[in-house]
Symmetry: C2
Subunit: 631 residues, 2 copies
């Protein structure tokens, strides 16, 4: 009995995972390769992927129907229906058709009363930009489509192609050497005899590897011989990214594995307190992970999932259905079963689901979604604050480790998310863009951890602090100082309309941001100061929801100007007229400052990488970055 191994230290699963991940994190980076987007399903991105074209490419009809000039329809009513003439007043359009001037609205086929081949009657006016999807509404050139370390799904492939991507930098597919060992282990054959154990584990493990997108290489069975096992281990470690040795990891008399691994490398864990599955070995040899899995099938299976699966992909268990608090009222028709995409996060142990853009055309809302909520037919919708079942999409995120951010949009949130997913394997940043005001409302309801905001107090001229005081009082909220960013008017290259200030936009075709967005507040503030009536601006009612979408519109032939940040204008090759500098900060509940996820976020925004990437974009400055102001 003297040669038996003893498990000197049996550790818990969590400890084992942490010890091993910590050791692995010191290994050299993985090789990458360029993959054709059409072949990229299941692969892992090694860097963020940015769109290179807009989707839609142009202002497009969102419905089948007719396109009209909205101004001409403004007097239509039930009492005074309006007759429209084909060719003169309207054109028939199908979903997706380009809408060109002078047309600026689409009326759904269902709302048109056909009089004859050339005449149609309408009973209500069309408002400007109604039923039109503005250029870049879904994906604007420069938008981040996927962050680093993201496993590519069929949904992503659709969005990547729509964003003009032809190839992607991915990590090389990992190869896994699998070595079955044991004197009693034999290949399945027709002359099995007493004492033989058929090797089925190595094939199960190979299948598990391939199911996760890896390449499994099974070696021949090695007998219980120190030198033979050692030489086969070194062969596999040399040839593969990961090596699994099966059996030979318990305390039997012929269990050499742990001794060999100690000789040729370093053993970090031997024995984990799980049942079944205790005798697992987690080692590193020549900078590569080597895992000794126990001999019993279930023990091998459980340990594979716990320790080998994360080596293949940063994939967490997922796919379940959870009860989530719905953060925003969702109205639904009694006529349909509706599928609503949601972002999900966990706050104080509760899941919070925020509905995303509901347009069927939005591919990015599918890519961004963490889950899908189904509203049954015969239900009118869901009230804010009520609890619903949400099916988690099978993504490589662990919701408990998601840092929720709801508020204003800025490219820096995409960059922060990318840096976060590379720097901290266990935390991801999930941001929903609802404008600054929406972010503070979510914070008030405890439905977000971070609220990125840039809100000007029209009276004091102060950013962010006044409005927080007004909404929350004192002592509850802290402000993590972010960036000063330059807001201004985006105009076409070389400024053909010669726009110089806010006053000038009245004379030109404008694209606006949605209500509640900090940029919209800034515009409305400036208009008020200048005594300009918003309704005098052509396009004031045409709203898009990101800076990049404003830039895409301005780059199109139908829009002359829009308000936004310099980085978005630069990215689209537009000229930019500075209007003011604003403070883009992050509001958090003071009690959440100690949350490790928040601490990591502060690390990320203070990182040299983020600063370098913002400097490259231009239009940002930072003097108080990461400072905490308790309000």
């Amino acid at each position: 009995m003297s040669t038996r191994n003893l498990y000197l230290k049996t550790v818990s699963v969590e400890e084992a995972y942490e010890i091993y991940q910590n050791a692995l994190s010191k290994l050299t980076a993985l090789d990458t390769e360029l993959i054709d987007v059409y072949d990229s399903i299941g692969r892992l991105t090694s860097r963020a992927v940015y769109a290179v074209c807009n989707s839609p490419l142009y202002n497009a009809a969102a419905m089948d129907g007719i396109c009209v000039e909205s101004l001409k329809t403004k007097n239509a009513s039930e009492e005074n229906p309006l007759i429209l003439k084909l060719g003169t007043d309207f054109k028939i359009v199908d979903t997706g058709d380009a809408i060109k001037p002078p047309y600026d609205a689409v009326i759904m086929a269902e709302d048109c009363i056909q009089i004859d081949e050339n005449n149609i009657k309408i009973n209500s006016p069309a408002s400007g930009w109604e039923n039109i999807r503005p250029i870049g509404e879904d994906i604007a050139s420069g938008d981040m489509i996927l962050p680093s370390n993201h496993k590519i799904t069929p949904i992503d492939i659709g969005a990547l192609i729509a964003g003009g991507i032809k190839s992607i930098e991915c990590y090389k597919t990992k190869t896994v050497g699998i070595i079955p060992t044991g004197d009693e282990i034999v290949d399945l054959n027709d002359n099995l005899k007493e004492g033989d154990i058929v090797d089925s584990n190595s094939y199960m493990i190979k299948s598990l590897v391939e199911d996760l997108g890896g390449i499994g290489k099974r070696y021949d069975i090695v007998e219980d011989d120190y030198d033979k096992i050692k030489s086969k281990l070194l062969e596999s470690i040399n040839a593969n990214d990961i090596t699994i040795i099966n059996a030979g990891s318990s305390a039997g008399t012929e269990d050499y594995t742990v001794h060999i691994l100690r000789e040729i490398g370093e053993v970090f864990v031997h024995g984990v307190s799980i049942k079944p599955g205790k005798p697992v070995i987690l080692a590193i040899v020549n900078n590569k992970p080597v895992v000794g899995l126990p001999g019993y099938p279930l023990s091998a299976y459980i340990n594979f999932n716990l320790f080998v699966k994360p080596l293949l992909f940063h994939v967490h268990d997922n796919g379940e259905e959870v009860d989530a608090i719905i953060s925003k009222r969702i109205v639904s028709s009694l006529k349909y079963r509706e599928y609503v995409r949601v972002k999900i996060g966990k706050i104080d142990g509760k899941y919070i689901a925020s509905p995303l853009n509901r347009g069927a055309a939005s591919q990015m809302s599918m890519v961004r979604a963490d889950g899908i909520l189904v509203i049954p037919q015969n239900q009118e919708g869901i009230e804010a604050g009520s609890i619903s079942k949400v099916r988690i999409l099978n993504k490589n995120t662990n919701l408990s480790n998601t840092l929720l951010s709801i508020g204003s949009h800025d490219i820096l949130m995409d960059i922060a998310s990318d840096i976060m997913s590379r720097k901290y394997e266990d935390v991801s940043l999930s941001s929903t863009h609802v404008g600054s005001m929406g972010g503070l409302i979510a914070l008030k309801r405890n439905e977000t951890i971070i609220a990125p905001i840039h809100l000007l107090d029209e009276i004091s001229g102060e950013y962010n602090i006044s409005i927080i005081k007004e909404m929350f009082g004192e002592g509850k909220v802290s402000l993590i100082k972010g960036f000063d960013r330059i807001q201004g008017i985006m105009v076409k290259k070389n400024n053909p309309c010669n726009i110089k200030s806010i006053e000038d936009i009245v004379k030109h075709r404008f694209v606006n941001r949605q209500k509640g967005a900090g940029t919209r507040v800034l515009l409305d503030y400036k208009l008020k100061l200048l005594n300009i009536d918003p309704s005098s601006i052509d396009g004031y009612e045409k709203e898009v929801s990101t800076h990049t979408a404003v830039a895409a519109s301005v780059a199109s032939p139908y829009i002359d100007c829009g308000l936004g940040v310099k980085s978005a204008a630069d990215n689209m090759g537009l000229d930019f007229i500075e209007v003011g500098i604003e403070e883009y900060d992050f509001a958090v509940l003071t009690k959440n400052l100690e949350d490790p996820k928040v601490k990591k976020f502060i690390d990320v925004i203070k990182s040299t990488e983020l600063k370098t990437r913002l400097d490259k974009l231009g239009g940002y400055s930072y003097s108080h970055l990461g400072n905490i102001i308790n309000i």
Copy 2:
């Protein structure tokens, strides 16, 4: 506007699914092919797979330790420790080593006190067959490993190889033709212009197909031209198992698809009341399914999952975590996080989880499991009746459609399960084997729908009815009459020990069934009638839990006889001495007789196929099959 399609009948998702499945069920059967087991992951079995060898192959040590003769250790105690000598009293064994006579028990290494190289002290006796895995305990030759229509997982591959399977009959991989259509649709290129829509959907769909194990063939984009679309559709339908045509399914002016499909085949559904995703077309042309998916990405994605996914595999959404009532107390060590495999069913809207065999060696318990329950470290176990989170394994079963059966084991339950999964795509039979008594207890607790039983009332000599009356009173339970089956003594080929009756087993090496099994009740009844002391039987304490496992033991060199059914003896090439005929029936709560799943079960047991297959096995007769007795 006159050429627009109207959705004459928009139906609900459930109606659409049923209409289409009903139409599809009339199509001719699919081609099958023989697949090497090593390449079978993700494939769908076209018929049930039965084991051709035993696992373990022989009586094997379940632990590292020493093997001893249990009788010699019976006086060992703390006060009177026993010293055992190497070679004479014990041999050192590792897990998996064969245990041969005279040894009949294994003592764990942890319970052995080493005195010197040759002597070991023990403080307690070993009981017969302790820590030994009897031959065929996990998989016995003839056991069904997988039913028909089962998607093969990595876990299954392990069990198939352990059961001696080298190749499997599977359905051929389905090919899916994908046709993008539309004048405005273009391939991604460097000269995109206004009005162009980049085709990303067809690639997303191809990826979805391949993610499900199908083969996707994308065709070139077809312009909006009736004849060109028709000809491409016919080309794809001819070349592929399934055809998907993208876009051209809404009410736009150029939407020819539905007209073409009506011309060349039959359209079953056009328009489903979901949002987004309404304009879907479900058709059949030349005996093959053709699906028109809407043009918006999310609409295409949702309809793909609803209507195309089930065409590729009979896969239901799964993988979530549910709250389940635990049907049996589970004790767990404070030292470990424990993974317990469970069978799951839904009764009256509640999930019921029954723990399976907990041995790490049991591959079949992994194959049979519907879910995994994790008992955290620092928790002593789970009480019966309490509610726990159970993670559903990603299998092709829909738990709401699972008919739960808990009770006695008979091969006919495997056959019924196989017939059920082929005959009714939407119902599957899940049986757990705990013996007849265990089945009635589960029925009493409303934790099973069906309880297969064969319980002799020792006083009246009547089967099943007396015991139900005693446990449930009258008016609550009904009995679905099943089969008369012949119980008897299994002995080796040509009966070398010349065993003629129950009296003779006293003189030979016996293998028993577990307490609560009907066969065990029958044995104990016979022994009592004959005034035989059970402890006089060599092997009375050696329990296995199925008829096939008894047969596998009797076929081994160390066991001479065991009690069981004729079919199991025949299957293993054993001789059989009839002892009696017993009635194997199905107890159900009377209120559940109207459950459609129970009705389908009655259909299955009355089916000619089941009778034919039982006749082929031999040892069964049926005169009242399917009759209902209200007790």
